[in-house]
Symmetry: C2
Subunit: 641 residues, 2 copies
Amino acid sequence: MFEIVRRDGLARIGRFETRSGILETPALLPVVNPKILTITPAELYEEFGFKALITNSYIIKNSDDIRERALNEGLHSLLGFPGIVMTDSGTFQSHMYGEVEVSNEEIIEFQKNIGSDIGTVLDIFTEPFWSEEETSASIDVTLKRTRDAVSMKGDMMIAGVVQGSVYPDLRRMCSERMKEMDVDVHPIGGVVPLMEQYRYSELVDVIINSKMGLSPDRPVHLFGAGHPMILSLAVLLGCDMFDSASYAKFARDDRMMFIDGTYRIEDMLSLDCKCPACKDHTLETLRALPEKERIRTVARHNLYEITKELALVKRYILEGRLWELVEQRCRSHPALLDALRRLNVYRDFLETYEPISRDGAMFYTGPETRNRPAFRRYEKRIEERYVPVTDKAALFEDREGKPYGRSYCEDFARVRSSGYVPIVLSPFGPVPAELDEIYPIAQSLFPSVADKETEEYSENSVMEFVSRSGFSEVADMDDVPHGNGGYDHLPEKAKAVARYQFGKEAADALICGNVKIVTSKNTGKIRNVISDDEHVLSMRAGDGLFTLRPEGALRIVEKVPGPHMRVVVSDDAVPFVSEGRNVFCAFVKECDPEIRTMDEVLVVDGNGKLLAVGRAMLIRDEMLSFRKGVAVKVRDGVGKS
Amino acid sequence: MFEIVRRDGLARIGRFETRSGILETPALLPVVNPKILTITPAELYEEFGFKALITNSYIIKNSDDIRERALNEGLHSLLGFPGIVMTDSGTFQSHMYGEVEVSNEEIIEFQKNIGSDIGTVLDIFTEPFWSEEETSASIDVTLKRTRDAVSMKGDMMIAGVVQGSVYPDLRRMCSERMKEMDVDVHPIGGVVPLMEQYRYSELVDVIINSKMGLSPDRPVHLFGAGHPMILSLAVLLGCDMFDSASYAKFARDDRMMFIDGTYRIEDMLSLDCKCPACKDHTLETLRALPEKERIRTVARHNLYEITKELALVKRYILEGRLWELVEQRCRSHPALLDALRRLNVYRDFLETYEPISRDGAMFYTGPETRNRPAFRRYEKRIEERYVPVTDKAALFEDREGKPYGRSYCEDFARVRSSGYVPIVLSPFGPVPAELDEIYPIAQSLFPSVADKETEEYSENSVMEFVSRSGFSEVADMDDVPHGNGGYDHLPEKAKAVARYQFGKEAADALICGNVKIVTSKNTGKIRNVISDDEHVLSMRAGDGLFTLRPEGALRIVEKVPGPHMRVVVSDDAVPFVSEGRNVFCAFVKECDPEIRTMDEVLVVDGNGKLLAVGRAMLIRDEMLSFRKGVAVKVRDGVGKS
């Protein structure tokens, strides 16, 4: 039903199949009040391109004038909407008014009867001020109701709402139990008060802990989130669907949504919008419109503002730069900056979803950039996988003009000739010269003036590194004279990158015996690594990392025990994969949990026999849960024999 | 000719009068190549609303086909443009191609003859790689040519270009000498290479040093700056005019300008623009357009993107929030972040232009926010103008929910009862409880998690403050027990605010003898200060600062020698101002250089007699140089007698 088309960490562009059509995510579903059609559903579909909307089954059920039509004609006809219709259950009404006069069974049945494509369980809205006990007890009710709803679902999809107030453990527990049920979409509920109160940092806790417990193959819907200012952050954290009642609610209140906030028309000092709704208006003409037309105009503006941001978010996912957009957006309110800083707590979780490399350069936007999982990845691997070439380190300052080996060309050569390893104090921490070309070290841009936080991190981490790695001598770059010994740095570079990328054991298997490094004539950079006459590795110019050759892959299969770097496929996939076809999720039986997207992987059969080499498009949990989509892009099929 | 309509620090919305109409600034002038009209001047005027454009007189002079038409019909007719036409002189061509075959006199004469509204001197383009000597010598030539051009100007306005390569002193020197000449607009020249090479930090040096030397009553034009990503920063630093050739040049190269960068159509992964040029296009349909139409479409898009950003910049000026927009924009490239950090060097200069208070709350966006002049202002005044109530300080942590006096209500009372002064360790530095309601202390929002830089600043500055202010005892808030002595804090608050706002001497004159504090029944906040039965001050709820009452003003005039807080007007203005009319720039004879915009000021005659009390709209240099506009908004005329 759900498939990842493109991704950027937890963020994803997805394809969600429903019986009323395909929804491309991230998607926002405008909330349509069946009794007040500020913008008609047909307009939403045609003019704005919304392929899905959400309406409230509880309101329809309680409205004598439309209930019968809904039951007779069906929702799609009632609304005049050819796309996907999702329905809410009345939970939000219970949050607003204390209670609702309907049972879970009744409202599920009603949603089925009016032809909702995605019906929602009547969950219990967990308020942020509730105690842990109260919240926990209400989750039990929600879970039971979800189970009941699933048993009744028929061919309607079920939205099973994750609750848990502001308690991370309860959110995770609720998600884990929901995961076991046959639910189709997971709204994260009970978050509207957090957003209304600018408690974005807690919203981060809620979203991430919910994501941790859920299965990656189901779309996650952030219930009630429709303000453009929060969209990029929520998508970054893995939310796929949103809904907005505010486009119309705000419009009725003469409030225009902008990416930097919401403004009441009467307070605005100028109108600087060229969206199709505003382009022919000045502030004066807009104010002077008759009420109904004004509301329509503002509602249309609000929808355009939301769709504009959503389109931008998609563009940044395609470019692999969503972090940068989020870091910009989170400057529009200090509470959003708090949310950005909160990500620090979840660096390890985020690292799991972080690709091994990206196409574009990484831009530093402030100390918060260090929360990005690419930093965490580097920090961990340099600690676990780096082996110093000698026991003498020469420290270099960070410098513009990367890779460092180019701008420090002669200095690196000098200290090496005296047997020292050049180490640069970078914002990523210590960068040994051997790793100066890998992503994101070389593919990153920092301001030339560092902030204190980054400066301190850089110094402290280098000191720790130096003592941990067992260097017995540490010198400043300027204090090391030219020597006449040293070491051949190209094989050392190849080894260091291989260790960083594949781990120590695999690297030792790959680069051993008689090692020959083939370099580019133009750039002098490593191109190929030949070990005992076998071409085991090729280095990519773009990210300075290795592509694994079949000969190299065979060595790892022989020398390094599974599941390291392995993706195990089922027997029926063996012939195809061996011939070089891609591995689809449905055929993945197991996968090394350490594999990251864009990692080089070994595709093997149930007996551990190598079938192919390729790049991972997904991580383990995704490969195992998705039914559709490519898990591994195979480069070389090698199992054919 | 030029008048400030609204301002936000150095940034201003201005009205620039020319013989072909009024130009509202900040304005961008599209560059029109008279030989390739990608977008016609008539379209620029009608569709995009550009009231001015810039074209190149050197190209026209050298083109046999259009030179004669230009001379016979005039430029406006040749271009079909009813607005303001500015012409460039060929300097940029000399930068591009080494030299031009025209003399300064010839090109000035030619510009006059073709009816240019604003003609430009043939200045020498100072390259960023030039030595200081070379630059200095060429500035002499530019200055001489400017002098010659001025002597020939007739009724054409003259653009006198500030040069000086990357040497701040030379830029300032060149500006100071230009200031003495009868020039109408000051382009800052020689900056295109800096922008092309992302040397934005040096661009900051160049702009600010030029601004330092120039007279505030002339518009400043940043030559060659047309990318939307740089506009907000340049406006923040006081640039009024811009020009863009890139909208068309980039279009011919299939490049679209966006606020976050420039993208080649073939590299783009999606088109997410709803501007009038793009709204009916997908990336595919745009790519498929015939070349000429594609260039036109992209050029129109580029113009819409620029005008959108310029409109947004104006909105932020109107809202007094331009710093916040700039701090967001400067996250789109690390080189822009460097530029933002560079402002640190110019805090004192920027403070001069910083208003005493703003309407909205200040949003913190990162450690760079501390470069804002409002921080510098507070830092200086707390050092120079604060007098401790007792010699015992109780230190409080920063806390959300301002003013501090509300969230720390009981704790403040407790430590006061033991004779301690509550001091909060805020991101602004030390905040004594008496100042907790003033702008921007109470009107600011910070993230709840502070960054290291801010945290350190806050701690260090409090320690310095405590030792400097002569506190003999310093305790943690929790360690001070309830006492039964203490002091009456309202009169102390009134004194502290008055000292902060008016200086110690004026405050002593205002609040002395028998002091009565009138508070609001609802909020308990200070409303009025009565000293010896005279109502001397009223406190504003919005910014916690005082409005000066005529009785108070009279006391300052009597007790504090000039020029403190004085604006001296010429005799012919005396009767009007005494009756409460506003003070216009043309009538200002002198002004206290310490006066800041929005400051309470005393309007006096040549003999120092008080005529009125009001708020400064401008600072000294502006009041003295502008010929139009309000200098002081008078609240009470008191001189009538």
